[in-house]
Symmetry: C2
Subunit: 116 residues, 2 copies
């Protein structure tokens, strides 16, 4: 059994590589692509692409299905939901930054008033 | 100059390790902590914690300031904003999943009606 922390680590590790992020971004736009189609935009060789797909598959971010000689790759975005929810707790730091700046300015003003 | 893709990769790489995630989570709750305080909950030795702090610092996720003999570590969450925005594009897959299920059911029904 892989626990929550292990899953998070595996998801983030899968997202470190720009080629893997590009593959996920493409699968976000297209509902399924063959391995050859996925490999086409990259300068790297097919076995290297296959290795990236293995990493994405191990992280549960894609599924692969074979029909005849064609392997179709599809997005399996659920692990990214968990990663996003982990990041979400920091959201208040940026979404509230203007509010906090205003509050800070006000407190400084109040301080200055007291000093007079 | 580090570009967008490099920054994303560095942020995700920093988030792979559970100790580093725990440090960030603690700094989210506390506004600044000393290195000794940060190291206390972990079974690993201080130099290992320092290495994790170096990774977080290189990724721009923390700042360190020294006063006398105490180094205070603070959260610098901005890089996580970029990471979250990258993940956000997949949000429709889960937030819209019920809508899409309904749409799918409807299209299947329409197909079945046509066939009759």
């Amino acid at each position: 059994m892989v626990n929550y922390q292990q899953r998070l680590g595996r998801t983030f590790a899968a997202l470190v590589d720009p080629t893997r992020r590009a593959i996920l971004a493409r699968l976000e736009r297209e509902d399924g692509a063959s391995v050859t189609e996925l490999a086409a935009p990259f300068a790297i060789k097919l076995p290297a692409v296959m290795k990236h797909l293995d990493v994405l598959d191990d992280a549960g971010l894609i599924t692969r299905s074979k029909r005849g000689r064609t392997v179709t790759v599809r997005l399996s975005p659920e692990p990214m939901r968990e990663a996003m929810n982990w990041l979400r707790r920091y959201e208040r730091f940026w979404s509230g930054s203007l509010d906090r700046l205003a509050a800070y300015a006000e407190s400084k003003e109040a301080e200055a008033r007291k000093r007079r």
